[in-house]
Symmetry: C2
Subunit: 404 residues, 2 copies
């Protein structure tokens, strides 16, 4: 009997989560499609306002007009349409103050997931190590392994509000360490790493002559006036940092599949060189849509207000709920809730699905037992969202009293 | 001075073709954008009817309606929308007779370029070897190296009409050989590998217990009644073959970025498991457009007729042109021309750009000095295409008499 897994490298050969795995991955396979059609509220899909309409009129207009013209059947450049790169450069400069050349420092990726892998690819040879803070986005733990490397988890602590502890990094650095891979603001915790904390991390990166990959998918919406610093702007970091971004979380256009990486000319030389092979190109029509909106500050402010209002709604509904605890989100579209008094993450997630008809994410794939990740910006209408949150609160309360 | 290349693996560290390379890659960077705006006819972009409108009305209609509804802002599943996978399964069954389960044997990729790399990724560890016939699609030579493997070129010969010579494969197989990677029909030569020839190749693959990756981007249009056989249908090959396809070349929707891989459940288990990490997802709106057309046999026949007429036009115009020789294309949208009597590939490509204002591909990146690859299905209108071909013919003739 032919065993195809015996032909595979260890990264893929050990993959969990596919067809035959016992692990149910909500965001792979047909699971979500089935749940949606059965009326479950999906708060486990990091996609603002899902599943409701959320394309700005202006974007619809330019895309419909491009469709009618009929030329978006054709490829855009593998590194990204020049018009889109120009808008992205403008966005980066607006957000960071960096002077970005759209033909030398920006590459478009078909979503930030492929961007995240691509940012790592050039730096990993078999056995190389990548330091990944934990909790983090699950792909950050898996990606180094898919490339033949090794993931070295570096714990963050709830009591620190999940800031970096540099001594935990120092303890784990070896001669094989190549990259530090962070998600900033962090997913699932929404933590915005503070400037002083980032400077210390960057000192560590420079001291050990490493590369930093910074996943900034959630950078567009930072609450409570917290200062957001892109590590590429920190002294000595530009030449060793790849910053991976997207228009999914910030602008609410996940389905368009437009992400981007910014980096130095020397790094981009290589990313441009492999663009056809690794990325192909982004959708031409999506690119045209993205061009129209990513620097529309008025629209972005509108999204920000919606997300801030949602954040406040979450705090209002879940405040003082017995059995759970959480911090107000610092950024984006998520809420990270400690449910350890009620049970294990997976059990409580399953309980919510049955009791409240709501799908949320267990904290386990993010690296933390006892927590849930809730995509609280799902569902466009605040009243509908409130009703779902209240169902969840009631379920938490019920569980709490059952256990008492 | 920080040298970022010293941090890279050999696959990426040696990449040519990016920002600072002397090699001008037409399909990367801003080169094409500049050429297009300067009025050059681009026949170097494997994109049927480029740059003219080519979206079927039916596709426009469903996409405009989806845009108006406003929900295509949201993610589709990382393995592909269920509706699209169902249509793809139907297409594969229609073309091959295979019984394809859309939830077990198909994964959607954002274009076939990322699909081609993904099909190789699980099988390559550092130092593993991939046999690649030459000439072939340039990515096939580079992809194994980007994954830490080694590309072993296996020559094909013009005098064989570029069929596989199995003894050339046998000479190069080692204990590190893992994969045979073919493009079928071949790009750039348009060769449809004949059934008997494929059976021999598959016997070789089975004998040495290898994996076959078959890039079938050009499979939709086969001329002169030549039988097209998908190697996955050959006995004993299903469990060891990954077939990589797209809607770019066949249906003329390159800019949509929709490709797909089909394979056994055991292989798909792994590709599904890494889908979020490697692929992300395809554009939701593009997926909806693709669903509407990929089994519309009437429309596909119409495209076929256009491409066949174009093939015949090429034969008519270039026939008996002194200094060049070529075979009528067996498939798709390309013509492969021997210009070795006129000069080196690069020189003749540059000459055509200056003399006839036409961009074509040098044969060198495809592995053959002395040849040009021309995307003869570019430009929608036959008369306009004829005019461009005639400019090229005149340039060939001029060169021929200059050299005499």
């Amino acid at each position: 009997m032919f065993n195809v897994k015996s032909k595979m490298n260890s990264g893929f050969g050990n993959l969990q989560g596919g067809l035959f795995s016992k692990i149910e991955k909500a965001d792979v396979g047909d699971g979500v499609a089935k749940l949606l059609s059965s009326g479950v509220d999906i708060l486990g899909w990091a996609d603002p306002f899902f599943p409701d309409p959320s394309i700005p009129e202006k974007v619809k207009k330019v895309m419909i007009s491009a469709l009618e013209e009929g030329k978006v059947s054709h490829y855009s450049l593998p590194i990204g349409r020049p018009e889109l790169r120009a808008e992205i450069a403008k966005k980066i400069s607006r957000q960071t103050g960096l002077d970005i050349n759209p033909s030398r420092n920006v590459i478009v990726t078909p979503g930030s997931d492929s961007g995240l892998l691509y940012a790592l690819m050039p730096f990993i040879s078999e056995g190389d190590e990548v330091l990944v803070p934990k909790p983090s986005y699950p792909s950050n733990f898996l990606n180094p392994k898919l490339l033949g490397g090794k993931t070295v988890e570096v714990p963050l602590y709830d009591e620190d509000n999940y800031a970096f502890r540099i001594d935990e990094f120092e303890k784990r650095v070896t001669s094989r360490t190549k990259v530090v891979l962070i998600t900033h603001p962090n997913n699932p915790t929404t933590t915005v790493f503070r400037k002083e904390n980032l400077i210390k991390l960057c000192d560590f990166v420079k001291k050990h002559d490493l590369i930093l990959v910074s996943d900034q998918a959630f950078e567009d919406h930072i609450f409570d006036g917290i200062e957001f610093v892109s590590p590429a702007t920190i002294e000595g970091m530009w030449e060793r940092t790849l910053t991976v971004c997207s228009i999914s979380k910030g602008i609410g256009l996940s389905g368009f599949r437009i992400g981007y990486i910014y980096a130095s000319d020397e790094i981009m030389e290589v990313l441009y060189g492999g663009a056809v092979n690794v990325l192909g190109a982004a959708s031409t029509l999506s690119s045209i849509g993205a061009e129209a909106i990513i620097n529309d500050v008025e629209y972005l402010d509108e999204v920000f207000e919606k997300l801030e209002r949602r954040r406040d709604l979450v705090n209002e509904v879940f405040k003082d709920t017995p059995g759970i605890s959480f911090r107000p989100s610092e950024s984006g579209i998520l809420t990270w809730i400690n449910v350890s008094k009620l049970g294990k993450s997976d059990d409580i997630a399953n309980y919510l699905l049955k009791e409240a008809n709501v799908l949320v994410n267990s904290g386990v794939p993010y690296g933390m037992e006892g927590y849930l990740r809730i995509v609280t910006a799902c569902i466009a209408d605040d009243d509908k969202a409130r009703a779902v949150f209240e169902k969840m609160r009631n379920a938490f309360i019920k569980k709490y009293y059952e256990l008492k």
